[in-house]
Symmetry: D3
Subunit: 328 residues, 6 copies
């Protein structure tokens, strides 16, 4: 058993795979990837950047499904093992008392965060431009929509799994109206999930694989070394963007302070299902399952904006790698 | 036998394939796609957006072939079954009395339309910019070039298979000098294939798979429900354009009136030969064969600007789908 | 009296001004420019690119007036001397039987051409993009709208003042949806002002003052040396476009053949009213009055997209200059 | 005396000027404009988009001054008559306990709003991009800096002069990192000037003078007809942006509801000091003084990003004009 | 007499003007600016970025003249007092034995540098793109063309007035093919004015007035404090570029080392002739005359790419200002 | 044995493959491509555009390896057969006495050229932008860095394998700061590898596969027909760049004179490893081995900026093809 550093629950069992013999990778792919094909539900053009959480001893998820009109929606799903999923072909509808924001035009790239008995869903929501939508559920049946966290234009809203100083915390990446060619990660706090302030800059782009923009990925994982934030970074090649994955450690109490940050990526598009699809050359992590007992980590990521892939890591090894290969 | 709605001739036999069991697709791919590989003639870099018609009990075609200097040309071809093609390695030369337009610099994306004993070929022709070239043949040996239909800049000129109110009708998409990032479908009429006027707007882009531009595909198919116009629509992802295929129904007598139009696409790049090639993520339909007796439809489309693919549909089912999933 | 070369009528009298002593200019400005200020009618934000013709022994005009919402409209006006104008504060409305094109969204940059008893007005008309609108009047009270000449996107439609080979002729500049950064002059012909064809390229951009785009200006003036076409050319400086004016001679019978074309400009923004205004650095000629007897020429041009300026030339001198300083 | 509709205080006296005889303008310029030249303090490159308020029976202001390194700063100033100003050559420094935001890199385009005994200053502040900075003062000597209201990227933050439903209200325009080519006005509310939420869209661009973007100008003026919001709108000509001024009426209780909005502009760059300068063709209102008794309105606006201009209006006439010329 | 620091010759007399009373400017304009109007020779559209040197007890110059076709050429001129110029209406032709570079397409923005009995002219020369042309003369009658110093794309080549370590030194700004939106100053050395190497970076852009690009201006002036390099810097406003002027001090022996550099500009477009013209908002210094005895400095600069302006400074004051307001 | 035309040495043996039966290709791929996978050394993200030379009876190479932070570096490698490579996992460090250029930020796309006992390495080096770095070695252990050949911005520096007129010759492609959308090949000469001059234009882009830019590939091969220069050309499709390979013959004594140049490409991205990877659709030749005795040619090229591919040709056939299909 690993000398794990995760502060959290033990997970329901999932079919972990060890690192392939001889591999020097700190994140390695599940050998039956993609775990969810693009057409897992009939209406789907593609199923990709999606959020998974432990739920009632098993797993629940909120999935980004682009329908065949190429409108993105959010769908719920359930799984016994985190790999084989039963996804609802009908998209989620949100309960909302506020007519101004109740109309759901489109939503994408969900994250799900469990705090104090509620599963909070955040996503990129359309309200006169992309911004951070928010809702909560206890049962993945009824979803209660909250106010949008921010003014447009924003994407990649990711909550912390507990309050700090009695405030909710939310990572996000201010953006513009289109395929934003810039982007830094900021953090904001709220007393009530309605009003947000005390915006702090967390980190920006750096040369190499993250030279164009960065955005938070899964809900950060609390460890004895700090918050482990897995994130995506984007490089602009002469034929478009390349989305890779890296890791950072944030200060436990002041998570806008970046302690370490991987100079190399930890996962980058190499396989066919990551390189070929609706958007070539994308790995985009949106969820991670961390098992406190074993220190095992399962990262769910969208591949080529088309399918869902799964990668594994060992948290203590990933943290060690992050510290040893850091450039803040 | 289907209760077909096609107004037209019965086709020579082609090896139709039924919809795969369990499929929910309204257009399904031929299982031996691509039917024409990129190197079917020695000079070819690629063979793709091409036009097929019934001809003397068999089939003839005008093919877009980009040579290895990457200049596009038009080539004739013949086939017994619509699938195995004998393509002339020499490109078509046009008879033309008018020196100003007789020099053929390049031409691409042909369509072929049979009216009153003549096969009219329209294509994207270079005359101080892209515009709609036109010619006719009766035997696919001699091609008589006509005046260009329009001023530059224009692409995707598609004729109607009969005159309406004694006028020729021509769909087109006004463009600009480059990889046009906008584009609506218009219709124009002519008494003589020389002078064109009464230009009417038919339809424009819409959110989703057709958010950037649209252009007519095969010669519209006359049905009891209206003209069935298969067309392409383009979405701009962060890594470039994605060309999908949809369908619309136009009013029989006033075809600038769109009765129905598919909100979802009917075909989008999913296979390797559609996603990988000279231009990734392209399905671009240029011809359709409709069999009046059986209601079967064969759609020829360029894939990845590299090869020719074939897809099938049942016309009544496609029309029903278009009406049931319409957003005009 | 000059040995003039103009083929045409003698003009009503206007207060001609001779070339200033010592000037080497081939076009010289009226010393009380601008002749029409931006606020000559109360609703006007600006009055600029406008068309003037002799009418019933005096003068009539069609003016571009941008209102204070910055929508461009066409207004009629009358003058005894071509300099002092009585402009109708209400914009022209067009009689039109065809509902599809009858709604007037906006129109700008008119030209007026007298042929066989009718004054034809052409302008940049909005029909799902800019294209060439057309109408005729005999009295400048009732205007009969015709079909738009072309598909979008087009601007600067300029007719010839008589038929050639029994066809109407129309110069135009194919454009795109915005502030087009390219543009060549083409010519098209029509038997009936409804259907247009036989499109021919006339001339394109050249290095220097006309490096970005060119467009026809006033109705060409018939002379014994060919058609005198005054046109605008655009240079792209690092702070935007500069619109200058030049002259060309076109073949009388085949006016798509350019015989001569001024390598230098003949007028360029130098004065404050040409350099400062809603669009800095613009001289944009839209009309010219040529007096056959005296050979005098009055050129009306928009200045800075804000006011109307007037310049004079002597036709034989201008033609001589064009031939002596030509680069085709 | 006018039958005024302003809800508010009477102003200290300023040298009002009546509308020029014969003018049809609803806003008219002070005849000694610009009231503040670009070099009114020695360090200044330019003094323009600035905020004025009544203060202790006279007037105080916060001025945007770009120094000769072309860095924008905020300066205080005082005046007896609103026209002759004594501007502090040293820029304002803000008291701030929070080190993360205390460093003042640059700030521009201030507004000043009096609520419950405090003068709140909002401005475009640099914090890893432009966002809305906030501070308050009671004496224009000491300024207490608050948290930035929003994440980047935002500009044109304008408060309402009283709480509604016990919340502060703040108009703003989400932007991007550069010379943003889009922009709608939103409103947000806060219980405490620290946390902001309930973001609502107020209004966006419209064809004509406001075709590119819009942004709130002075603090809205409360009237019996609603909140009078003077705002700027931007048109993109082929030689850059043109900034004009218009007016809207917002619902008193739900100010995100636009009741009326001027289809024409009310002020647009016509004079030399508005058309020529560091940024040609700009009128940019940042403050307005409304006298309840007389209904007179004085609008302070930046001209050409170089100097400060002053314009006058009569509130009831302006409201009547807004209602009569509205297109929402 | 000033305690001057200039290492060099005393100048022929020019009508110096003292700083206006009360001015805080470190560079002040000649009160009869522009000294050369745009039409000083008949062929000229404009006369601006030009180089002046002492010559045979008087002054000679090489002028940029754009003709009325808007092609830039180099013209010689002579003056007794540096202000009233006799400019040759015919442009300079260069003697050149090397046919490949002998054809003069266009040339602009000259500088003239006197070394060891020769006046070296450098300019922006066209050879498959802009690069640094070079020639020498002893009499301003015959000009001997040398090899272009660099590969394209380059502009603003400025020599040092003496060899250092027995090598010629040349400042330049690598550019691209158009209106380059970036640009740093580099220095290169040559044993023979034919082969160039040992390229060193000197300085780049900085926030504020020089945020977009910088380029060397006049021949650097040797002083006891280092080389005084007057240069231009460019800011991008939302309506285009603004060209201002600043100063730097470079190390005498290793002039790629910047000792001081003005954080503020020393001259920026404020007057009408600098703000209005073919390119609004340009001051572009190309020459400076320094009088060793008096320490007076005359700076010749192009204004609005249209005319030549003259400004004065006192070298010791300018150096003191540069050191006191430096940000390297 | 072929009647070869190569002027040079015989090669160590490599496992040549004959042209596949029935192929009409003039360059054909090695059937076990890619010969070097992306992960041939543990640190590598990708190994691609690389240079190979005969060395001590076997082969040595300098490889572009992008590490997992996506920084490009140069690595040495050795091989017995040119196909199986032992690549040093540590990147090359250069000996350099000159501190200003000694810091190696990144370097890519190396070429290696043997002249007079030294192997010269040129590459794209970062010195305030991309420029041509240079060094030499005799043993591939110690590398002596020289001055950068040129000012930025430049890429694709390729030396000639012997001096001409006692001068070193260097091909290069002036570029800009980013993914340059233009590019011509120039040649420069140097007496000493330090100072460079006499820059001559060699060739530019042409319609078709080389419509956007061109750049030299391997060290030119001396033949009795001229220098055989294999080069890359780039086409801009609507989904990005496509990098193909062609050939040209340059004059032996004046190699800036292009004798012949292939109108078609000789190799273009067709296989999966060329079409899919970090940059889709790239073939980028950097080295060629020519065997004088047999006339065989092995071309090493980067594929998809991810792996190294190998292609073969017969020099006499390639030259014949170039002459027969030339358009200069």
């Amino acid at each position: 058993m690993s000398q794990t550093t995760i502060i959290g629950e033990n997970l329901p069992n999932i079919p972990w795979q060890d690192k392939p013999a001889g591999s020097s990778e700190v994140m390695w792919r599940y050998d039956a990837n993609p775990i969810i094909p693009r057409d897992a539900v009939p209406c789907a053009n593609s199923i990709f950047n999606s959020a998974i959480v432990p739920f009632e001893g098993k797993f629940a998820g909120v999935f980004r499904i682009d329908d065949k009109a190429r409108f993105p929606h959010l769908h719920r799903g359930f799984s016994d093992d985190g790999i084989n999923w039963d996804i609802d072909p009908d998209h989620i509808t949100f309960d909302c008392d506020e007519p101004e924001i109740a109309e759901f035009v489109f939503g994408y790239d969900p994250r799900v965060c469990f705090i104090d008995g509620r599963y909070y869903v955040t996503w990129c929501n359309d309200y006169h431009g992309p911004t951070i939508g928010a809702a909560w559920t206890t049962d993945f049946k009824t979803f209660h929509q909250l106010e949008n966290a921010f003014l447009p234009y924003n994407r990649n809203g990711v909550m912390f799994p507990r309050k700090i100083n009695d405030k909710f915390l939310l990572l996000s990446r201010p953006s513009d109206t289109g395929h934003t060619a810039f982007g830094d990660i900021f953090i904001s706090e709220s007393p009530d999930m309605c009003y947000w302030g005390k915006h702090r800059w967390v980190m920006g782009k750096k040369m190499g694989w993250q030279q164009t923009k960065v955005g938070a990925g899964p809900i950060p994982i609390e460890t004895t070394e700090g918050w482990l934030m897995i994130y995506h970074g984007v490089l602009t090649s002469c034929n478009g963007f390349v989305y890779s994955t890296g890791a950072a450690l944030l200060d436990i109490d002041e998570p806008w302070k970046v302690l370490y940050r991987t100079r190399p990526y930890t996962l980058s598009p190499h396989t066919d299902y990551e390189c070929v699809g609706d958007v070539p050359n994308v790995t985009f992590p949106c969820a991670a399952l961390a098992d406190a007992q074993s220190g095992k980590l399962a990262i769910y990521y969208g591949a080529a904006d088309t399918v869902v892939g799964l990668a594994f890591a060992q948290v203590d090894e990933l943290i060690e790698f992050t510290k040893a290969n850091s450039e803040v």
